[in-house]
Symmetry: C2
Subunit: 196 residues, 2 copies
Amino acid sequence: MGRSSTAQERLLDAACELLHIRGYSAVGVAEICARADVRKGSFYHFFASKQALTLAAVDSHWTVQRQRWQDLLGTGRQPPLERLRLLLDAQAAAQRADKAAGGTVRGCLLGNLALELSGQEREIQTRLAEIFEEQAALVRGVLAEAAETGPVAADTATARAVVAHLEGAVLLAKLADDPGRLDGLWPAVQRLVRAG
Amino acid sequence: MGRSSTAQERLLDAACELLHIRGYSAVGVAEICARADVRKGSFYHFFASKQALTLAAVDSHWTVQRQRWQDLLGTGRQPPLERLRLLLDAQAAAQRADKAAGGTVRGCLLGNLALELSGQEREIQTRLAEIFEEQAALVRGVLAEAAETGPVAADTATARAVVAHLEGAVLLAKLADDPGRLDGLWPAVQRLVRAG
């Protein structure tokens, strides 16, 4: 790997980390460069702006996460709802791991940006909305499988409700700085997807 | 009402508005003063800092909202779950009204701040966490009433799950800039609070 691609990756990693911990408005290009150990002049060789870097960081984050979602939800030995449970457990475990490693529950990078950015930075918001739709589509796939053998709702609204519930539960866990708040996530989602 | 209390109220109103639209980090004292038509010197007569003003703005917002929650959930002619439905309908209506008046879904001021502030500004976060706990307690009260006559879960975890679900659904509606995303809120919450 060449020197320049290493600098680009360091910028992406630093952006993911700082955006997750401190948000979009509170973080500037200079701080990202300092954390990545990249000169500001080099920054603009890779990214036109903080917005462009944020878009790339969001994509990079979701590329890794999507693979995890697909692995956990993909057809395998477990029954479909059990795979949905594994996905939700993994989200809770990630919050517990953050708390153990960094001292605080950091929440979901995508959800944090979604609520911070409001009407500004429409391009980032559009990308975030697409990602949440991809998440709902993945959930819908596993619900459709489950609906073949049991009373499970597998419509788009229910799949979106699962994603919404996950984001809302992570919000409260982050605010309480307590990953234990996610202990009830699976029972709640189980009720949420029950048909009839 | 004296001149100084009017200036203080204008600062609170301007802060609520700007924090809601643009978030905490993106908004400065100068901008709040300009919108409130208050000189910066006067600002510090009322509030020690942007943080102090934000805390006061959050309290002022929740004081009004709490009264609405209590009015909608309080004992009345409607059965308890119907009152919960009225509360959720009112939240969806508020997002529709924002969209109609300002062109965008603004989401929930408290949820927006909760996800933006992260580990910073711990004092504001603590206050937000208390408010969401107050919301859960209000929801729990109405669930307890409903549980007297039907299969409804009325534990703290279920009440918190309702609040989480509302916040998550508002997040997705804000991101999609589509209040129609809240149309499924009540059916989802109905399933969420079903016992057994």
